[in-house]
């Protein structure tokens, strides 16, 4: 009995001491939380983003910090465990008192932490392309919404490659489901027949692609020009592309355009047999611009490895971080409300040679690039949208979402304003 109580008391003491310890030297720095998985299944993608954030913070400190204070990164490991994301988000905000958090990769991790950011009124920058259908006051979406990635890619394939038959292959989770719903609606609106669309879902980490790839091959041999739109996620990509290469599916015959395959994913592959397959992003490492060259050099210097690649979510963090810095400077404080109000309208250079602006719906404007895989693991940009594409929180191609708009500026201040009922939904009581 007594040992039990001592134990609990010790545990509590440990935690409180931890809190006070980290609070002790808090005063003269501005803290920035980094909430990316460093272990577990998502570490493969997220660790790079942690490094990128550390580099950005480091560079900002070299420039003299922010508001006369140094920035201090607080790194935690939510270990690809979604409830742990909730816990760690709360810890960052409540215990470490960070001013903003940069983090999350999967939709489910973002969904897990949303209530925490709302409750504790903090700021999250989310750097990954996602399914849209969300706009939250405390979250800034610096990755692509479906209209900034999927739709331009399909347009490109139709116009440039004359594709008439479509395979929509994805991992069975929300992002591919939603993207494919949007694409299906879009393709049908463009006059593609039902039987010319094949939709296929596979589980996470699917590794045996023999059947599906041969189905795709069979589907593509029906006489019409066929393309695959892949929303296959993470780990499943390497075996998928290896199978594509070995079954001899050439980009000239059946091009595959992917939304989740970037330089980082290609690093695990021999790309020689994959030349010509495509990806749609808002940034490629191969983009020629001064800002990008500078960024890549800094990255190689920071990681002490000149083989480390850069990718789209890193650019999103680059944009997001600079926007936050600018907004804090504009507001003169790191106070969440002030920064949230200052952010819309802020415009910072992106790495593709232009400017990206934060919009009132908390999404940003970006160019859409289509790249073809090269044998050196990089992409060649073969198409770029003429102007910047503003991110759309609510898709126009889903019936229930088409009537919603998002505008966090003063009079409306609503993430999901229903233009039919003229009401703001989901605002609690």
């Amino acid at each position: 009995m007594s040992s039990k109580i001592t134990k609990i008391a010790a545990a509590l003491a440990l935690t409180t001491s931890l809190i006070s310890a980290s609070a002790a030297f808090a005063e003269d720095t501005i803290k920035v939380g980094i909430l990316h998985s460093l272990s577990g299944t998502m570490a493969i993608s997220e660790t790079t983003l942690k490094d990128a954030m550390l580099m950005l913070i480091d560079e900002q400190n070299k420039k003299g910090g922010l508001l006369g204070k140094k920035l201090e990164a607080v790194v935690v490991d939510p270990a690809s465990d979604w409830p742990l994301f909730t816990e760690k988000a709360r810890e960052l905000i409540d215990v470490n008192k960070v001013s903003a958090v940069f983090g999350c990769w999967t939709s489910v991790s973002r969904k897990s932490v949303l209530p925490v950011f709302e409750e504790l009124n903090s700021i999250l920058f989310y750097p990954v392309q996602y399914e849209g259908e969300e706009s939250q006051r405390n979250v800034f979406y610096t990755g692509a919404a479906p209209n900034q990635q999927a739709i331009p890619a399909v347009d490109y394939l139709m116009a440039e490659e004359g594709v008439e038959r479509w395979v929509l292959a994805g991992t069975d989770y929300v992002y591919p489901r939603t993207t494919n719903k949007i694409l299906e609606a879009y393709l049908k609106a463009k006059g593609v027949a039902e039987e010319d669309i094949m939709i296929n879902y596979t589980p996470f980490g699917h590794s045996d692609w023999q059947t599906i790839v041969s189905d795709i091959k069979a589907f593509g041999e029906a006489g019409k020009k066929t393309a695959v739109v892949s929303t296959i996620n993470g780990d499943a990509n390497v075996p998928f592309y290896k199978e594509l290469a070995n079954q001899g599916i050439k980009a000239e015959d059946i091009p595959v355009v992917a939304f989740s395959v970037g330089e980082e994913e290609l690093a695990g592959l021999d790309t020689a047999p994959l030349v010509g397959h495509l990806a749609a992003w808002n940034y490629f490492q191969s983009v020629e611009s001064d800002a990008n060259a500078e960024f890549i050099d800094a990255w190689h210097a920071f990681t002490k490895n000149d083989k480390r690649v850069t990718n789209d979510p890193m650019e999103a963090h680059y944009i997001g971080f600079n926007m936050w810095v600018k907004a804090v400077e504009a507001a003169g404080t790191t106070d969440s409300d002030a920064v949230i109000d200052a952010l819309p309208g802020i415009s910072v250079p992106n790495l593709t040679g232009g400017y990206s602006a934060m919009m009132p719906n908390h999404h940003i404007t970006k160019p859409v690039l289509i790249g073809e895989i090269q044998d050196n693991g990089q992409f060649d940009v073969v198409y770029e949208t003429a102007g910047l594409v503003p991110g759309d929180a609510w898709s126009d191609y889903l019936p229930d979402s088409a009537k919603l708009i998002s505008d966090w500026r003063a009079p409306l201040s609503c993430g999901n304003f229903n233009t039919e009922t003229k009401e703001c939904g989901g605002k609690g009581n």
């Binding site: 577990g40 006489g223 199978e243 070995n246 010509g276």
Partner: protein
């Protein structure tokens, strides 16, 4: 473009008859080639057509290098060169004069980009050149490309070639290509019927779609013949599909077998619930990666044999880790199988993190050697080489292990110790060492599996986790402690999975297989191959 193509075909024949090219034409050619560098990707298509239209054999290397991404323009004077990478710099070759300029810095050059449609255009266009190549293999390839491209304007070129062709195999292909084009043209009924016969012999999905189109558009005898051919081809395809499915199942089964065979030793024979088994596979895969890196930097010529080096090294590395694991941890836990689960789980976490720290968290590239790339086309089947190798490799590993256990003194000692430790020990067997070597053997085999699995999947710190559950299912399904059970179990589960996949989908198929295992264990609580009788109980 079709018009251009027709023109081009005439030119090709023309050029082939004329021996030399006058110098003024060479200048023109130089300009046309240099023009490739200007303008956007879209404009480039016309320029490629223009080049093809010259019919000059010199455009062949230019265009194929453009398609391969090796065509560069010198910034200083906008001249286009063929390039070859030589260390950090390039060696340039002038496409017209053949002049060679070595050691040029990459920064002074700009790459001329190509995209898919351009590459396709070049491939189809060059196939007409290749049709008259002295190499029969190239002619064969060209005939195939023309068949796939289905461009009616190629018909005269094919017929011209067909008249001259000596090689019977190439002739057959040309006939098929011609038949395809005839069918969609407005040729006479008898020509079309003959074409249908040729195509029907060829079979395959593309022919099917051509014939289906012909049946829809055609009338009378052509329609009937096409419909009959469609039915016949569909029947053949259905059979091949079944065969293909069995192969896919066996191939998946062989992957499961490889993943679980080491576990059949450490868990099945020794009774250690080895949650770190997957990490042994991972170690094997990372060893392969390291071996390839070393070979690439020291002896790139040996790259194709990298796996042959990797197999013994992976065996030793994973075996050594297993040995240390057994000596350091497992040996204190014999007789407490469930405790081994906890300890090895801890070990697996540490090994994952160790790999993440050493190699980084991202995927590593392990390439297929050339003999494991591509596919073997066998009648209606397309079998990829890496899967074929892995299938036989899995069987070989199984066979060797089986012989080792049943036919060698080492195997005898292993079986003796696992069956009755005290008795074996009193007979003079050094049980601790046998334990250690048995565990090292199981781990080493898992390492070998890692070499093979690195050829089809990710090489990442999570690699082991993706195989561990399946491996346990296989060993338990087959019957713990029975190697045959593991073999049959793996192949059965593989085939079952692949037969469920087409109509249930990949996810539901896998769920059904799991449910099947659960129910099967009810029926046979000790797996597929379990001994009956008193010895097994108690």
């Amino acid at each position: 473009m079709t018009l251009l193509r027709a023109l081009l075909v005439c030119l090709v024949t023309l050029v082939l008859s004329s021996a030399a090219v006058p110098p003024s034409m060479a200048d023109d050619l130089q300009d046309t080639i240099n023009a490739l560098a200007d303008g956007s990707l879209k404009d480039r298509a016309e320029k490629v057509d223009a080049l093809l239209a010259t019919g000059d054999p010199k455009v062949v290397p230019v265009l194929s290098q453009l398609a391969d991404g090796n065509l560069y323009v010198r910034k200083a004077d906008n001249r286009v060169f063929l390039t070859e990478s030589a260390g950090k710099n390039f060696t340039l070759t002038d496409p017209v004069s053949g002049e060679v300029i070595p050691d040029i810095n990459k920064r002074t050059l700009d790459k001329i980009k190509a995209n898919n449609s351009l590459r396709r255009q070049i491939r189809d266009g060059l196939s007409l050149f290749a049709l008259n190549s002295p190499d029969p293999a190239k002619r064969l390839e060209a005939a195939e490309t023309i068949f796939k491209a289905q461009d009616a304007s190629a018909l005269p070129a094919i017929e011209a070639r067909l008249a001259k062709e000596q090689d019977p195999e190439v002739s057959a292909f040309l006939e098929e290509a011609r038949a395809g084009l005839v069918l969609s043209s407005d040729a006479s009924e008898s020509d079309k019927l003959a074409a249908i016969d040729v195509l029907r012999e060829k079979g395959g999905r593309q022919v099917l779609s051509m014939l289906t189109a012909a049946a829809e558009k055609g009338e009378g005898a052509v329609r009937d013949a096409a419909e009959r051919a469609v039915v016949a081809i569909e029947r053949v395809l259905a059979i091949w599909e079944g065969v293909q499915n069995i192969w896919y199942g066996l191939s998946l089964g062989s992957v499961l077998l490889l993943a679980s065979i080491g576990l059949a030793i450490t868990f099945g024979v020794m009774g250690v619930i080895n949650m770190a088994h997957g990490e042994m596979v991972m170690i094997g895969a990372y060893t392969t990666f390291t071996v390839q890196q070393v070979i690439q930097s020291t002896a790139p010529g040996l790259f194709d044999y990298s796996l042959l080096f990797a197999i013994p090294i992976a065996f030793l590395v994973a075996g050594a880790v297993g040995f240390v694991l057994e000596r350091g941890i497992i040996r204190f836990l014999y007789g407490r199988p469930l405790e081994t689960l906890l300890a090895t789980w801890g070990v697996s976490l540490m090994l994952q993190q160790a790999v993440r720290t050493i190699f980084g968290p991202t995927n590593k590239e392990v390439s297929n050697p050339s003999w494991m790339s591509g596919a073997l086309d066998l009648a209606g089947l397309s079998l990829t080489w890496n899967r074929i190798w892995i299938f036989f490799f899995a069987l070989a590993v199984f066979g060797l292990l089986f012989l080792l256990l049943k036919r060698t003194p080492m195997g005898l000692q292993m079986r003796a110790v696992t069956q009755n430790r005290n008795m074996a020990s009193s007979l003079g067997v050094r049980t601790p060492w046998v334990d250690a070597f048995t565990f090292a053997l199981g781990s080493g085999i898992a390492g070998i599996a890692g070499v093979a699995l690195s050829q089809i999947g990710n090489v990442s710190p999570n690699l082991g986790q993706s195989y561990i559950i399946d491996s346990f299912m296989v060993v338990v399904f087959g019957g713990v402690g029975n190697l045959w059970g593991t073999l049959i179990g793996a192949l059965t589960l593989g085939v079952a999975n692949k037969f469920l996949e087409p109509f249930a989908g990949a996810v539901l198929g896998k769920i059904l297989v799991l449910v099947f295992i659960i129910l099967f264990i009810q029926k046979r609580p000790r797996g597929l191959f379990a001994l009956k009788g008193r010895a097994v109980e108690q």
